[in-house]
């Protein structure tokens, strides 16, 4: 529906839109997503990606769960196959972008200052500092935070959420908004499982299923090169799927939003 020019007002719903409540006052029905402006910008970013056939992946997790280490290993493994680029989000420092550049990959660092998450506008500004032509996969490493980043669409096609085994296996139950948004969950640092007696990967997966999330769960250690093949295969499949979508003029939003939005337009 259109909230710009008022064309969504019909004789049938006009009474909802202009219900007099008191002298000189009007009640206006809006029913618009609070983050509509961010979502519009995210849609615009997604068009940028789709136009160039780029697959964009948003990496989210707690700080220190191994997002940058995973990227380093992934970029090296894919070096001869695809052109990748990375947007890094942190409160301060260029450290992570420098780690990516050291692997010979284009990286732009977003320094958020005090902001706890990336939003679609920050990502759009970053895109203007990057060369997107020829890029196959763009990774966006969100600010390490299991809460806020889940609420902001950046224009990505997929959300990948990391859970390191040094954290609790009940993290998906504790942070349901974040883990419900995952299109894939990676259990990282699995080489440490041998010395940890309190993390059960099966339990972590069960907690994810309790969020009605069918996302694949992959167990890996980027540092010790364990389980990386399944992740790299998944990435290749996702890029192929993105190219197939682009070929027929379609796009994809992260899993969480599709169903919900469909029902909202009915209930709203």
């Amino acid at each position: 529906m259109c909230d710009t020019c008022g064309c969504n007002l019909t004789p049938g719903n006009k009474h909802l839109a202009f219900k007099p409540v008191a002298k000189g006052a009007t009640a206006v029905s809006v029913l618009k997503g609070l983050l509509a402006k961010n979502d519009d910008q995210a849609g615009h970013n997604r068009e940028h990606f789709d136009k160039r056939g780029i697959l964009t992946i948003n990496l989210m997790s707690s700080p220190g769960s191994g997002k940058t280490a995973l990227l380093e290993a992934t970029l090296v493994a894919l070096k001869d196959e695809f052109t990748c680029a990375v947007i890094e989000g942190d409160l301060e420092t260029e450290n992570d972008a420098e780690r990516i550049r050291a692997k010979g990959v284009q990286a732009h660092q977003i320094v958020t200052g005090t902001a706890c998450h990336l939003d679609a506008h920050l990502v759009h500004d970053a895109l203007h500092h990057m060369t997107l032509d020829g890029v196959d996969i763009l990774f966006i490493e969100n600010v390490g935070n299991l809460v806020c980043p889940a609420s902001f669409d950046l224009g990505q096609h997929l959300n990948v959420t990391l859970l390191s085994v040094t954290e609790g296996d009940d993290k998906p139950a504790k942070y349901p908004v974040m883990f419900r948004a995952a299109d894939a969950m990676l259990l990282t640092k699995t080489d440490l499982l041998a010395v940890l007696d309190d993390f059960d990967p099966d339990k972590a997966e069960a907690h994810l299923r309790n969020l009605a999330n069918p996302a694949p769960v992959m167990r890996l250690s980027a540092r010790k090169d364990l389980g990386m093949d399944a992740w790299l295969t998944w990435l290749r499949e996702q890029l192929a799927a993105q190219r197939a979508r682009v070929a027929i003029g379609q796009s994809r939003r992260p899993a969480i939003q599709s169903d919900g939005m469909k029902y909202h337009s009915v209930t709203a």
């Binding site: 000189g24 006052a25 009007t26 206006v28 402006k37 902001a115 609420s151 504790k174």
Partner: protein, 120 residues
């Protein structure tokens, strides 16, 4: 703390509504938030006055409509209420469900005051 960013987005949207309807100010803002939206109503209520300071909704009351979490089971078709970290079917226990309510983050309605001379 991302509630401040949400409050700023809310102020922008209400500002647009005020303009669209030629009103002078907003007196009541009603927002519908589901638990799965990841926005805490109490924190949004705290952040709102900061974002609204000096605006045409500075003195507006902010009201929240609760949106309970409901899921529809893809296996048995039942529609049941669910807990935030257990979005499974309340009837058959299957996890293949879809959220039909509970992840909303909506500006539901706004009460506007129009200048008496301009009111039609």
């Amino acid at each position: 703390m991302h509630e401040l960013a949400v409050a700023q987005a809310l102020v922008e949207q209400v500002d647009t509504v005020i303009d669209q309807h030629g009103a002078t100010l907003a007196s009541l803002i009603r927002v519908r938030i589901g638990p799965l939206a990841g926005v805490v109503p109490e924190l949004l209520a705290t952040a709102f006055p900061l974002a609204a300071a000096g605006s045409r909704m500075e003195h507006a009351a902010l009201e929240f409509t609760h949106a309970p979490i409901q899921v529809r089971c893809q296996t048995c078709g039942a529609e049941t209420e669910a807990a935030i970290n257990r979005l499974i079917c309340g009837a058959c226990g299957d996890w293949h469900t879809q959220i039909i309510s509970g992840d909303e983050l909506l500006l539901e309605s706004v009460e506007l005051e129009t200048s008496p001379t301009l009111a039609s």
